[in-house]
Symmetry: C2
Subunit: 381 residues, 2 copies
Amino acid sequence: MQNFDFHNPTKVLFGEGVISRLPEVLPDGPILLLSGGGSIKSNGVYDQVMNTLIGRVVFEVSGVRPNPTFEKCMEAVEIIRKEKIGFILAVGGGSVVDSAKFISFAALYEGNAEDILRRQDTLVKKAVPFGAVLTLPATGSEMNCYFVISQGEEKLSGGNPLLYPQFSILDPKVTATLDKRQIGNGVVDAFVHVMEQYLTYPSDAPLQDRFAESILLTLIEEGPKSFRNPQDYKSRANYMWCATMALSGVVGSGVPHDWSTHAIGHELTALYGLDHAQTLAIVFPAMMWVMKDEKNAKINQYAERVWKIADHQDPFQGAFRKTVDFFETLGLPTKLSAYGIKEDVALKVISRFEKRGFQPMGEKGLVTLDKIREVLRVASQ
Amino acid sequence: MQNFDFHNPTKVLFGEGVISRLPEVLPDGPILLLSGGGSIKSNGVYDQVMNTLIGRVVFEVSGVRPNPTFEKCMEAVEIIRKEKIGFILAVGGGSVVDSAKFISFAALYEGNAEDILRRQDTLVKKAVPFGAVLTLPATGSEMNCYFVISQGEEKLSGGNPLLYPQFSILDPKVTATLDKRQIGNGVVDAFVHVMEQYLTYPSDAPLQDRFAESILLTLIEEGPKSFRNPQDYKSRANYMWCATMALSGVVGSGVPHDWSTHAIGHELTALYGLDHAQTLAIVFPAMMWVMKDEKNAKINQYAERVWKIADHQDPFQGAFRKTVDFFETLGLPTKLSAYGIKEDVALKVISRFEKRGFQPMGEKGLVTLDKIREVLRVASQ
């Protein structure tokens, strides 16, 4: 096991009806209510939240979109500064929570807020506190300190220990109005989050491995149920808790990570507007294929423990096929062609990496530009 | 899944050499260094800690014993009040950390400190902040808000969200000087902590179940290695992280609990001075035996997933035998007679429960006085 720090101070309220407990965790003073494209108005979450805020000063910024933008965040920053708002309440999915994090930093930063996106976030020493009412289980942003914000054609990620939500309110009931695409995306996103912390090389961390396998097995069991039946509260609750735990630190502490699938996926979203989870469904299996020798030991473990591939079968082939089938069953094709994207994608992606000054990625720095080219070739076939 | 709150703000620094990072997490001002029976002086931990405290005002209280007492805690409370100390640094095992929690509460409580032990802890609204340098993995106290303190012949437990350690420093290397009894006890303690949150009834919480099984499987794998070889850093690290995770909330959130083995075990310690883990090794298998019908579904799951009992074998008999063997391999006999205790123990224990006004225990309130009598009869045979 590697040395590690583990610190996750977010308070989670979980279960049916917990939105009504907002007054327990919300501090006094004016708040900014940040939300997305309007689904919270049709699914009743907005009313549930506003009922707990009667008599309070609430400013609202809505319209945060998937792949949330720097410009939208800066709208909220202006209001926070002007109105001297001391707390942000993010009501929505991962995009809204990610935006709250960036806003929280940017509002108190005296320099150019773009610096924060250019990984100068160590310059920022304070943040506006914030909390979340989660409506879409997927990114895990509700219980970690990371964000991804888009600016122009770039998806830029950041993170800082100041950016844990003070609280996150998770009522699985509110997921009943999500459509199949959102659920399929959410399950695949959570699954790949775990894989990026698991499918590396053995590092004498059997508990973290088993925690990872626990989430994978539960997503495999509960994900399709959640996908098929919006009214299956039990399954939605389990999927929701899996997605939160996936990026909370319990899987990733003390072990090597490999975020190269995410890095390549971000490029596909920026170039072609694919959903984040669609890009993961495309890139992850191809990455597994290309890096199968380097990841051999963990692929065998994954095949045996997660997919129960029998001894006489080839573990890689078995695990690869099962992974692809799982993603496709959830409505996410795993080939670029299914999204109408042709093979010249590799040229474009490589050129974007080169422009920024590329550093090899992956748990051992073995994901070179050649490997990325190969990954995108496999994903095109 | 039941509704639940999850909030664990303790910051963990984990790995070889992390004691040297104490200055990163320790606030300014005078501190109270609380420790146990002196092992930290012989194993070098005291020197490692003091090297980080050069130039600081440090008061010391040592001599906290296993089953730490109210009276010892009050010694520390007096010093904290007199010297206006603002931070407690607990250096030791679970007894020292538990004491720090009680002291932390009692020092700022204006009433009679005994009230806190009599479960009047809701009266207390503030606590002296504290942190821990852990030397013995077992109780999980380093990452939760619970404590057990002895007064006279009573072991009294409490807990409060104010009582999470600000930080806990876990260097597996410092466990190399522990003796076999301490390691055997620690592994069994952590194992039974998980079982009390797992072996109840199915509650549609597959992730929590798998997290529990992850810790059990890892303790079964790593516990005996840690027991046999003090120099096996890798195994000690895994055992240490298992013990911390066991009572951190990841296993017990949203599921029923059964703390009746602990409750009966506390009586055996109070009456006969047995080590806490010895009492668990005696009571837990007997409880499993007596409650086998009520716990049937989870016993079958435990047999299959944790002990891999084959389909043609009796799951209860298989899991029971494996559990007993596991405890005994770690040097903990599972029968009262092995500790020289005769069957009249049931009379004494029942009478103590009756005197306090007994409420049936267990996940469904089915552990009555009759069941306790039966448990102690089984444990005597």
